[in-house]
């Protein structure tokens, strides 16, 4: 009978999300929001210049002023801001409780969409613009980290319906 006690956790472990998920997700979204806000401010104002070295490989200005820096006329910095704001709302501790399959699907889908967008932007930097923007790369890393946290968090809070 001790085998049951060692292989199956207590019920409370099955109805509560692991403690690390919400703080990790919120930290990533907060950092993403901060950097996206910085990029957005630099895009719209004349007084804030991106602190970024300019070499043959690294050039924030070349990337942020390229045609690829906009999607349908919207600066990608603004899209990043919207993405992290939405993810922040989806990553509050209450949103990580097990169950809520629709919320879990939306959050995971949104995180995956963010990664797809990052892939497109990294491709543009490497093969179309020929320059890397350091601040954009920070945002890209945070978006991928957020996807990883979300995917692992979603798995850790998966549940089947409880017996009546």
């Amino acid at each position: 009978m001790t085998t049951t006690a060692t292989t199956v956790p207590r019920d409370r472990d099955l109805v509560a999300a692991p403690r690390w998920i919400a703080p990790a997700a919120l930290t990533a979204t907060a950092a993403g929001l901060a950097v996206s806000a910085y990029l957005t401010i630099a895009h719209y104002t004349q007084t804030v210049a991106l602190a970024c070295p300019a070499t043959a490989t690294i050039n924030c200005e070349k990337v942020t002023s390229s045609p690829q820096s906009e999607l349908l006329g919207i600066p990608v910095a603004v899209l990043g801001l919207v993405f992290f704001a939405a993810m922040a709302a989806l990553a509050v501790p209450a949103a990580w409780r097990p169950g809520r399959p629709r919320l879990r699907a939306v959050r995971l889908g949104f995180a995956a969409l963010g990664v797809c967008f990052v892939v497109r932007l990294v491709y543009a930097e490497l093969f179309e613009i020929d320059a890397i923007c350091l601040w954009c790369t920070v945002v890209h890393v945070l978006a991928v980290a957020l996807f990883a946290i979300t995917a692992l968090g979603t798995a850790a809070t998966a549940a089947v319906p409880e017996p009546a």
């Binding site: 049951t4 292989t7 199956v8 956790p9 019920d11 099955l14 630099a42 104002t45 004349q46 007084t47 804030v48 210049a49 991106l50 300019a54 070499t55 043959a56 050039n59 200005e61 070349k62 942020t64 002023s65 390229s66 045609p67 820096s69 906009e70 006329g73 990664v115 892939v119 990294v122 491709y123 490497l126 093969f127 179309e128 020929d130 320059a131 991928v144 996807f147 990883a148 995917a151 692992l152 979603t154 798995a155 850790a156 998966a158 549940a159 089947v160 409880e162 017996p163």
Partner: protein, 294 residues
């Protein structure tokens, strides 16, 4: 019977717990695979870029190699770029405007163009375009007085357009760094008229509004525009990059007078944008007189 009900409930509970754990195990596996695939995708992009870069190095100075094999060697590119980006101040002083005509047209009421707080020079052109080919020379010269280019390459205008095969630079892979100015070049088509780079909606709007859709179009910080070359591409006919670059310091050469003279006029406009910085370039009598009328 009274003891079998709790036992059944307990068994169901254990079954539920095991089913939940099994589901989490499957999803954790799927998540791990997904994360690994994403990381592998980024690694693949970086590796592909690195591999491309290594292959491109020997011919990095050549554009459109399919139609113009071995246009120039890397050594030629380096030499031509070095000469064009370091024309001595005394050559500018000796040539002045070189007899060229004023080219800039003011665009009062247009919004200021800036990037990162610096006035932006926006270039829209195409590699096939002979007037763009002619204008790139003085533009490179003038901008080099305010900052540094990397990635400049050599190309020729279309072989089937007017002033065919005019030797010039391309901004396709160029990067410009300056403490005073931002430079945003867009080469819309290659020399065979194939789409190359895409202008943003805002850039296209500027092209239509202030350039009537024609190239070359150079917007100087939203204060003035250059809408053609400052001299005829005919002047460069039959000359290769090396010959053009070598002539830049020959004050009596018509080519030098056209290119350096046009560059001096553009410099006057750029000095107005930068508030006469740097002083070594802008605070000369010639430039002061050009700022309002070049």
């Amino acid at each position: 019977m009274s003891t079998s009900r709790p036992a059944t409930a307990a068994r169901r509970r254990v079954a539920w717990q095991q089913a939940t754990l099994a589901k989490r195990h499957r999803q954790r596996l799927a998540a791990t695979v997904g994360i690994t695939l994403v990381i592998a995708l980024f690694a693949g992009l970086v590796i592909a870029k690195a591999a491309n870069g290594h292959r491109a190095t020997p011919t990095a100075s050549v554009t459109s190699p399919a139609t113009s094999p071995a246009l120039s060697s890397p050594a030629t590119t380096a030499r031509v770029v070095a000469q064009a980006t370091s024309v001595p101040a005394d050559v500018y002083a000796a040539i002045g405007t070189g007899g060229t005509a004023a080219q800039a047209q003011a665009i009062p009421g247009a919004g200021r163009l800036t990037v990162g707080g610096k006035p932006q020079v926006l270039y829209l052109g195409a590699e096939y375009c002979p007037y763009c080919a002619a204008e790139r020379w003085p533009l490179v010269l003038a901008l080099s007085r305010f900052g540094t280019f990397t990635g400049l390459e050599l190309t020729e205008s279309s072989s089937s357009d007017v002033y065919p095969n005019t030797n010039t630079f391309t901004f396709q892979h160029a990067t410009y760094t300056s403490a005073y100015l931002a430079f945003t070049p867009v080469e819309l088509y290659d020399r065979n008229d194939n789409p190359l780079q895409t202008a943003t909606a805002a850039q296209q709007q500027l092209l239509q509004t202030y350039g009537q859709g024609g190239i070359p179009f150079i917007d100087l910080g939203g204060t003035a525009v250059l809408r053609s070359s400052g001299y005829s591409p005919q002047l460069l006919a039959g000359m290769d990059w090396t010959q053009i670059a070598a002539s830049l310091t020959d004050e009596s050469s018509p080519v030098a007078r056209a290119i350096v003279g046009t560059a001096e006029r553009i410099t006057g406009q750029l000095c107005r944008l930068t508030g006469n910085r740097p002083g070594t370039v802008c605070q000369t009598t010639e430039i002061s007189s050009l700022e309002g009328a070049s």
